[in-house]
Amino acid sequence: MGNNTCEFVENGLAEIRWHARGGQGAVTAAKTLAEMSLTKNMFFQAFPEYGPERMGAPIQCFNRLSTNRISTYCGITNPRMVVVVDPTLLDVVDVTAGLAMDGILIVNTDASPAELRKKLGLKGRKIYTVDATHISIDELGRFMPNIPVLGALLKVTELLSEEEAIAFLKESFGKKFSGKVVESNIRALQRAFKEVKEE
């Protein structure tokens, strides 16, 4: 059990906002991220945008991560990181609202960070992209982009190494899902670690 945390949380409280559509597993991903950060002995919160979740409707969920005890229980308006699980939301939701100029944007898209920057007309921030849609269709046989997007987040933030993330999924998903499902999610995670594109 390590306390070796990364720069992402060493700069104080790290707040993350996830954008997805209901049914794409973003709430599970945020919860998994919280559980993963416990293996690093960190403090964390994971919470959905409160309200009824409808399949296909835009949703948000959030994480707070810190090396210290967290006692703020309000919503997150100025995140350090924004994660977009569904690329079709880019035309629907202002995903960079409140994102700090030195903040990080991770998007599930087949576009490169440069192409995405041009499309969004975005200034500042650091953009990463990962084609989680195709990774999940290839590896899971269906559109379920949450785990590859989480993989990209882990790679970018260095919260967990690839080996640590795989070990976690084996342990955690192994309790709930069949060996086949666990293996395919691990392959999707590994591909995200390799394929995430940096600016």
């Binding site: 959905p48 229980y73 308006t77």
Partner: protein
């Protein structure tokens, strides 16, 4: 999973409702009666799974309404069982007449209530209006800041309720969604320690004790002792203050987390103080600590016990303060009297020679977010009030769309 410093506890990531369900699993009550439909929360769903999986020996009674849930709980408790249920919002409202029967019969029923708004308009989000309406129903009310406190309070509630000097039902309160549906880090006691702390329940009298037959809740009209019964309830509530402290100390010894009637920051040198309940107290504490680091003479009190109201203790803690701002997550609709915590604390301070200036901030109704910016605004207003001695507005609505 991480082992905590205390070897007997494990650190986990859980949502608030599961934290409460874990406490219920360790308590292993004889009977749980619950109604599972919205606005009920996952507490009873998770617990029902534990029953189905054989993790507890509880007799689980799925009933057809919250009115029936509390009725069944009362019947089982009068029969001598250790009984729990859980509810929220309209569910608590539907229990209304039974709440008074539970406390009037002096039945130590334990009920976590997830604080959610009452209709109308329809709203399922965090709001203390549901349990504040039950403040005069004779139930002890313990508020929780986070999942850890909801778990800790649930375990302690059993000891408080069943104490021979108390014998009153206890409501454990946790904020809807903000705590109930959020994943938080917390420490769980190991089963043996929790079970030993909770102990076994041996009621002095019960309906099923055939050797010593008793009657519960019989007619006690004009020439009876109704008045005396009610006075005894009030006496029990007064005695509960010391029992709550005693149980909180004992819980601290086994967990490293001692509990009192309230918790405070900076009272030793603060000139003005904020008083709040529930998760908002966490957000307020982090802002108060930040402002104190920048030299503002501010302090805060997180009120854990609202019933019984620790009036003398709060008055002593606030002695000599210039100004106090009370945060209320519900309104009384009394016509500019403010929220319930404000009204009661203001009344408690009436006898003191040097009264602080008092203002009220009603916030967060129906789940409206209490942001750090809003807290900061109130803190700065309070600083100005303490310095100038002037109050522009006694009762303020913080975060209203205007």
């Amino acid at each position: 999973m991480v082992m905590s410093k205390n070897k007997l506890q494990k650190t986990v990531a859980v949502v608030g409702t599961d934290a409460v369900a874990e406490a219920m699993r360790q308590i292993n009550p004889d009977v749980v009666a619950a109604y599972p439909i919205t606005p009920q929360t996952a507490i009873v769903e998770t617990f029902a799974q534990m029953v189905a999986d054989g993790q507890v020996h509880t007799h689980y009674v799925p009933v057809e309404s919250e009115h029936s849930a509390m009725s069944a709980a009362i019947g089982a408790a009068a029969a001598g069982a250790r009984v729990m249920t859980a509810t929220a919002s309209q569910g608590l409202a539907l229990m209304w007449e039974l709440l008074y029967i539970a406390s009037g019969l002096r039945l130590p029923i334990i009920m976590p209530n997830v604080n959610r708004a009452l209709s109308a308009p329809i709203n399922i989000h965090c709001d203390h209006g549901d349990s504040m309406g039950a403040r005069d129903s004779g139930w002890i009310q313990l508020f929780s800041e986070n999942a850890q406190e909801a778990y800790d309070n649930t375990l302690q509630a059993v000891r408080i309720a069943e104490h021979k000097d108390v014998l009153l039902p206890v409501m454990v309160l946790l904020d809807g969604f903000i705590i109930s549906h959020a994943v938080d880090r917390m420490e769980l006691l190991d089963d043996a320690t929790a079970k030993q702390f909770v102990g076994t329940y041996k009621p002095d009298v019960s309906l099923l004790d055939a050797a010593r037959p008793v009657t519960y809740g019989a007619f006690d009209g004009l020439y009876g002792y109704y008045f005396e019964f009610k006075r005894q309830q009030e006496e029990a509530m007064r005695r509960a203050l010391e029992v709550i402290r005693e149980v909180g100390r004992e819980f601290g010894a086994i967990s490293g987390r001692p509990y009192g009637l309230f918790e405070s920051v900076g009272l030793e040198d603060a000139e003005f103080v904020i008083v709040a309940l529930g998760s908002a107290a966490g957000t307020i504490r982090s802002e108060v600590e930040c402002l104190r680091d920048n030299g503002m003479p501010i302090g805060m009190i997180k009120l854990r016990v609202f019933r019984p109201f620790p009036a003398a203790e709060l008055v002593a803690a606030l002695a000599g303060k210039k100004a106090v701002a009370v945060f209320d997550r519900s309104d009384t609709f009394a016509g500019n009297m403010g929220g319930p915590v404000f009204i009661e604390l203001r009344s408690a301070l009436y006898e003191t020679a040097e009264k602080p200036i008092m203002v009220n901030y009603i916030y967060g109704l129906g789940g409206r977010d209490l942001s750090v910016d809003l807290v900061n605004k109130a803190c700065n207003e309070l600083a100005w009030i303490a310095q100038s001695g002037q109050v522009k507005q006694r009762v303020n609505y913080l975060g209203l769309k205007e």
